[in-house]
Structure formats: structure tokens, C-alpha cells
Subunit: 507 residues, 2 copies
Amino acid sequence: MFESANLKHHLDKAVYRREAAKLRQALLDAQYDLQQNGRFPVLILIAGVEGAGKSETVNLLNEWMDPRHIRTSAFFDPSDEERERPALWRFWRALPPKGKIGIFFGAWHTMPIIQRVKGEIGEGEFAREISEIQRFEKMLCDEGVLLLKYWFHLSRSQQRKRVKELAGDPKTRWRVTDRDLEYFKLYKRFIKVSDPFLRKTSTGEAPWIVVPGADARFRTLTVGKHLLAAMRERLDEKPLKRVPDKTPPLPAPADHLNVLGALELDQPLTKAGFQKELEKWQGRLNVASRDARFKALSVVAVFEGNDAAGKGGAIRRVTSALDARCYTNVSVAAPTEEERAQPYLWRFWRHLPRNGRFTFFDRSWYGRVLVERVEGFCSEADWMRAYTEINDFEGALLRHGTVVVKFWLTIGKEEQFRRFKAREKVSFKRFKITAEDWRNRKQWDAYETAVCDMVDRTSTSLAPWTLVEANNKYHARIKVLKTFCRALEAALERVGKAGARKGRKKK
Amino acid sequence: MFESANLKHHLDKAVYRREAAKLRQALLDAQYDLQQNGRFPVLILIAGVEGAGKSETVNLLNEWMDPRHIRTSAFFDPSDEERERPALWRFWRALPPKGKIGIFFGAWHTMPIIQRVKGEIGEGEFAREISEIQRFEKMLCDEGVLLLKYWFHLSRSQQRKRVKELAGDPKTRWRVTDRDLEYFKLYKRFIKVSDPFLRKTSTGEAPWIVVPGADARFRTLTVGKHLLAAMRERLDEKPLKRVPDKTPPLPAPADHLNVLGALELDQPLTKAGFQKELEKWQGRLNVASRDARFKALSVVAVFEGNDAAGKGGAIRRVTSALDARCYTNVSVAAPTEEERAQPYLWRFWRHLPRNGRFTFFDRSWYGRVLVERVEGFCSEADWMRAYTEINDFEGALLRHGTVVVKFWLTIGKEEQFRRFKAREKVSFKRFKITAEDWRNRKQWDAYETAVCDMVDRTSTSLAPWTLVEANNKYHARIKVLKTFCRALEAALERVGKAGARKGRKKK
């Protein structure tokens, strides 16, 4: 990757001045157009070796463009807030919205590369990280992000010269930190790791651009001109009338038998039986939630189901067993303006709990493959790729140690009709029933198909879907509570075992 | 993935008969349209557990459609021809051309899954295989293949019943092989491995379709109807006038300095010096090529360069040191009709050497990022993704143990003019110079940019580009010969070491 960058690039002052003046104006124009156009965000990754002019370039970009519409984020050691969430969380919360420019000083590639250079992770783990980065960046591009990745490079002799210069001058000596010197010693290894990394994470949509860093004028113009060309190309492109459909259809069962139809929706449980069970399982859950091992875990619970299936009631029966300071309820309706300006998973990442906490999602990211699919709010290609994206998202949660519990509450079509009518009659329940509910009801079969595909394609051994027969609310609530409690207990068990293993290893 | 398939699906005979009759006619029509349309191939993967009706389904598809335009390939233990080439070779050579249907009975997923089930490969290696499969299938889809992946499933109790039935009847007992019984014992582990595998290799463009296999009528209609719907959708789609451009531009150096310009093209070497060196290196190469360790290796050599840079001459100086039975020269010009009906890498895969052999490519797959880019024979998106695809392709060669040597022969613009003119004058050289050569010359700068991007993005530590200063043919030929010989010697050394390690391990 560094063949061209290893050459002795240089630019005359006169040439630079002339070009830079034109460039500044053009960049400002492009930035203005981006904001007016508002159809995509620009995300700039700044990476590479130390001393190659990264921060100088970022400063200059901020100087040349309107800094009010650029947000620069540097990622140092993660804060405790960040450590207690999946590694990608810190990047998600810094993503620029449509119409804006975000500059990431270091990003998701930084840690894997450093860990590999230092030998803290092996070749296999590194390959896994690369594959995840490929899929994550693909998702960003599919969501419309203009992702520009700049890698600042110095040859070994250029880096040596740079460090000597800085260290030799009392005025700049402070800039040469111990970390710089440490990295300098690792130069060869750093190149050996980053060279294939850059190749493997370069794709047609998001190629790494290697920037020779030794000559300040050259590197500035390289980045500035490329940024301008990339923005201009996207801004000037006419929107397409039709996106090509490259996704084959999913089949529906010829015998109309599906996982929902196979459920016995009317399950027996009396009010008295319910009270007994409720007491028992709420007690158990409360004990589990106060377990010391829970400090290393968090819980994300997803509630999906037919309209009027009793999601809210089921959630309340769980949360009333918990300390109110430890959980958040997130009720998902139409996205806000801020949320619409981001990739669709953004509005769920922002609500992820810290360790020792619970988040309950009343509807969730599965809206992408349910309502958005059925109502045509997104293209077939969009919801088809969402299965992989959702599995990757939940995979990131699970790897972090988050417990993921997912419920689909099912009621029959007649039972729904009964409940809708009842809601219309009782004044304090009337807010719960709208014209939209009646409209959704007409799409009953389409929703059923979507739910079955969702269960097939996103049920995993560690985050399975639990289908809840919900015609009888008592049964539904106990099944939810019990499943939730057991999932938490099993996770605590795993933490205990892992802790014990660690303890043994230390001895 | 198996939630829906685990249900007891069943189809009445009467319903089946009615539906099947319609389906057969519609499938025949679709097959005819596919051939007329001729714009894409259909590749059907048949996979899943034993006894789930895979071969019955394939037979039926062949019966229902015109078998002359279907090619079914089963992949048993690889032949020696196949073992001596990268693992994907056997699949490449069986790919259906545009307008035809190919059925793969087992494919690239088979070995990794079985090896993982048997514990022959670890989680890390399995993850690497998955990531490669994702990229390989993406390439097929990007090249326009309609890839349909069917996974035939039986629940454990269904499989038990099936094996009992077959083994109990003297007429079918022969069908229950020892391998079936072995796999049956591994059922749980097989599901545990294949369930996440199917999810991870399901993409929007090529999702796995799980087919419940217990009921013959149900599974037949499931596959038949889905195949029809998928073909119809693609056939009926209007071709797009414009493909969306999601690739940012690549930068060109602001100072016009590049890896080609940095070369000193006129290198000194006299005819006498050339003769001496030639003798020395041809001798060394001949010895290396007859080394016993070469039986475990093969060599692929790529020669690219400016028109009239002397590729042919350089190749001849290498091959004249080799046993003529051991090498093949592949001269790459415009693709044949057969080659145009395949993904662009197909015509190179077909020429890969067996172990102990050499293939010399006079021009190569790099045409994709050179002439096809410059002349606009493919879209920007196509050549931008080609860098990754080429790196993956060469990665497969290297992992197999193939030595990959790549030369770019450079001459100056004036030197080229001199040679063109000389060729026009000498009657027996006149065939070497055409109007196209003069046309290409006008694109000199565009080619130079393309070459530099190619070197930056496809030079790897094990398959680096060697840039050859070629104004002086003597120098160029010796540099090529020397580099080639040394690469082979180094590879023999590695085989020797690996062999020694193996030997020590056995002791």
C-alpha cells in the first residue's frame, strides 16, 4: 500500500498557494451544498503513523471550512461509560448526521492494529476483527454514509528525521512523547500489520487513501483535493429513480403452516395461579438483579408483538421486580428528526445500558424487518441486508457481555378484534387504539410472514426469540417473566464460572 | 435458522398435483427466457443434512426442465487434478455460463462445515473460511450470478425415522451407507455448526433458503416455486439505464511524482554482460526447476507492461531455461465468447497450473484495473472492487502453495515511439504493431495512473510487484530472470523448512 507514498513527494510554495486558495473556496461551497442537500453525512477517518501531520491536517480542514458544521472526535482511552458498553458504542454516538461532516481521529481500526502490533491478539483474532470492520463499514456505506479513510504515512527514514527534528528543538521537544518513541521502535512491525490491514479493509465504496505525510504542503493538498472531489461527485450525482433489485424473494410455506400458526394461543392460567407465579418469579428476579455478579453484565430486552398483544403489561410485570434506578424503558415509535438523519440502528445504540443496568425496548430495531418491510418504508434490499446487520449488532452486544432477551407476543385475529373494541369503549384506554392499528390489521398475513422470516433469520443460540402465546394475559406475563429471569440467572452462572476460571488461572 | 423447517409440513396429493402441473410449465418458460435473455447465469447450491431429499429434488428439477441446459455437478473427494490447485478451482471450472442453470451438489461450504463438525479445524479457522465465503459469494453476485442456496433440513426425529425406514426395507437398505450412520450420530453437532454458518453466510443478495425435507411434495414445491419466483423476478426486471456510483475517486499525486516516474529507465548492461548473466541465471533456474521439492509447488507468473516493452522476449528468456513439458504460456487478448459469459476471473482460473508446473501470463487479470478501467469497458464500481477480488484470488493461490511473481515492464514514451516505428519497418515484426497500439499511446497518462494504483493496491509481501526498467532490453530480461529465479528458490527453501518441521513433529 505504501509504494507511492514512500516516494519523496514535494510541492513548491508558489504552486501550493495558488492551489490552496482555489481549494478553500471550493471546499466551503461543497460544505454549504452538503448542508443544503442534506441527503448524506461525510465521515472522515484520520489514521496512520505518528508524526505524519494528522492533527495539522485536521486543524487546517477546520480552518478552511465552517467549523460549526464539522465535528471532530478523538478517541483516547475509553471512559467508564464507554468501557461498559460494546466497543463500537463510542463511534456510534459520534457519527455525523446527514448534511454534516464528522472527523474521527482514530476509529474502530485503531485498537485491533495496536493490539496486533504489540502481540496482544493473535492472527485469528485479528482476522475476526477485520471481517467485522468490513461488515460494519459496508453497513455504513449501504446506509448512505460517504466514508473517506485517510492513512498518513511516513517512510522509516522520514519518521526518524521527524522525531529527531522535534526532539532537537526545545520549542517542540514536548511534542515527542514516550509513546511516540515506543511506536517509533515498533515501526517495522507497525507497517507489517497495517499494510495487509489497509488492503483487506479497502473496498470499492470505502478504499483507504494513503497520504504521504512528510511534506506538509503536499499532504494538505492531497487530502483537501480528494475530500473535495469525493464530496462533489456525490453531491452532483442525480438521484436514481429506481434502485436495482438484486435480492431474490423469500419463500412462503406452500402449506401455510408457520411458527405462529403452530402455537396454541389459549393457554390456561387462572388469576389465582397467576398471582402465585408472579410472586415467585418476581422474587427470584429481584434476587438475581441484586447479585454482585450482575455488575459485569447488562440486559437488553426486546418486546415485539401484535398490536394489543400486551407488551406494555408484560414489561411492567418484569420491571416492577427491579430497582427503578437500574432500568430504562424505551418506547419506540416513529423516529425523531435527529434519528432520521442517522443509520437506522443509531437510535437503538444510543439507549444501550451500562453494566448493571437493564433497557427494555417496547418495539425495537426489528421494526426494520417488520413494519418497514410490510409498509414499504424501505427497499427490499434494505430489509434483506438488515438480518445480517441485526445479527452483527446483537453479536456485538453478546461479545460485550450483554444479555439479549427477545419476545414476540402473539394473539389471534379474533382476540385482537375483541381487544380493539374494548379499548374503544373504555375512556382511559382509548388513547391506545388509533386508525393505524386498524390499518395494520388489514396487513395481518404480511406481518405474519415477516415475523416468521425474522424468527428464522435472527434467532441465535445466545439470543433466541421466545414466542409467547398471549391470548391469556396471565400466561403471557408469567412466561415472559420466567424466561427473562432464567436468562439472567444463566448469564450470572456463566460470569461465575468465567470468574472462577480466571481465579484458577491467576494461581 | 430451522424454526420454521422443524414444523410438520405436509402437502395433500391433490393440491400438489394441481400446483406441480402449473409449476412445470412456468419453469420451462423461465428456462427458455433465461436462455434468450442470456444476461445472467443461475447457480443453485444444494446442501443440508443427509436423507432430506436433495438428490430426489435435483432429479426432479432435471426432469421438469430441459436437462440440456442444466449442468449438475457433484463434488466428491477431489481428483488429483483438483487437489493440486486451490480449493476453489473445482467450483470455478463448473460455473454455469450466462443463460444457463448450474446445480452444485455440495459446494465451497461443504468441507469447512464437515471439518468443523469433526473438530478438524478450530473456531478461528472456521471464521476465516466464513469470511472468505462471504467475499467469494459477493463477487459472484456482483458479477451478475443469480445465486440460490437451498439447505435441506430434517429435524432429529425426522432423520431417525428416515434412516430406520430405509434400513428396514431390503429394497432400500443399500442406500444407508456407513457415512450416513456416522453423520446421524453427529446430528446435534452438525446443527450447532451449520445454524450460525447459515446465518453468517446469508446476505441480502444470496440468503440461504431452508427447505423442510421430510415431506417430498412439500419440499419439491418449496424449491420449485422459489426457483421460479427468483428467476422470474430477475428476468422481468428492466435493465437500468444508469448504475448508482457509490465509489469515491482515487487521488492522483499533486506533484506528478509516481512509482513509474521514479524509475531510472535506462539501465546499463552490455550484450556481453547480458550473455554472461543469462547463462548464470538460466542455469540456476534450471536447477531450481528440477528440485524434488518443486513437486509440492506451482508457479504463476504475470507479465504486464507498456505496449512494446518486451514482455514476450522476457518470458522467452525465462522459459528457455525450463523443460517445455512443464510450462504453459497464456497470451491474454480479448476474451472469447465462452469467457465473456463468465465472471471475469474465470478465464484465468482455467489456466492455473498443477503442482510442479509453471504458467506464464502475457497480460492477465490485471487487465480489469488497467485497460478495462482506462477504456471504460467496465464501470468504476467494477474495477474498484476488483482490487479486493484480485487480492482474494492471489491469496487463494498463495495459500495453496503457488508462487506468484508479477512484473511490470516500463519503457519511456520516446522509447516506445522508436520501437513502434521500428516494428512498422521490419516486415516480420509488423504483426506486432496495430492501430490499437497507437490509440493506447494517446492514453499514456491514464494508464500510468492506473498502473500506480494497481501497484499500491495489489503489491503484497508474498506477491509483490517487480517494476522493471525496460528501455534496455538486456537489463530488463536479466532483472526478470533473476527475480523469477530467486522467488522460486525462496519458495523451495520454505517447502524444505516446512518439510523439516513436519519430519520433526512425526518423530
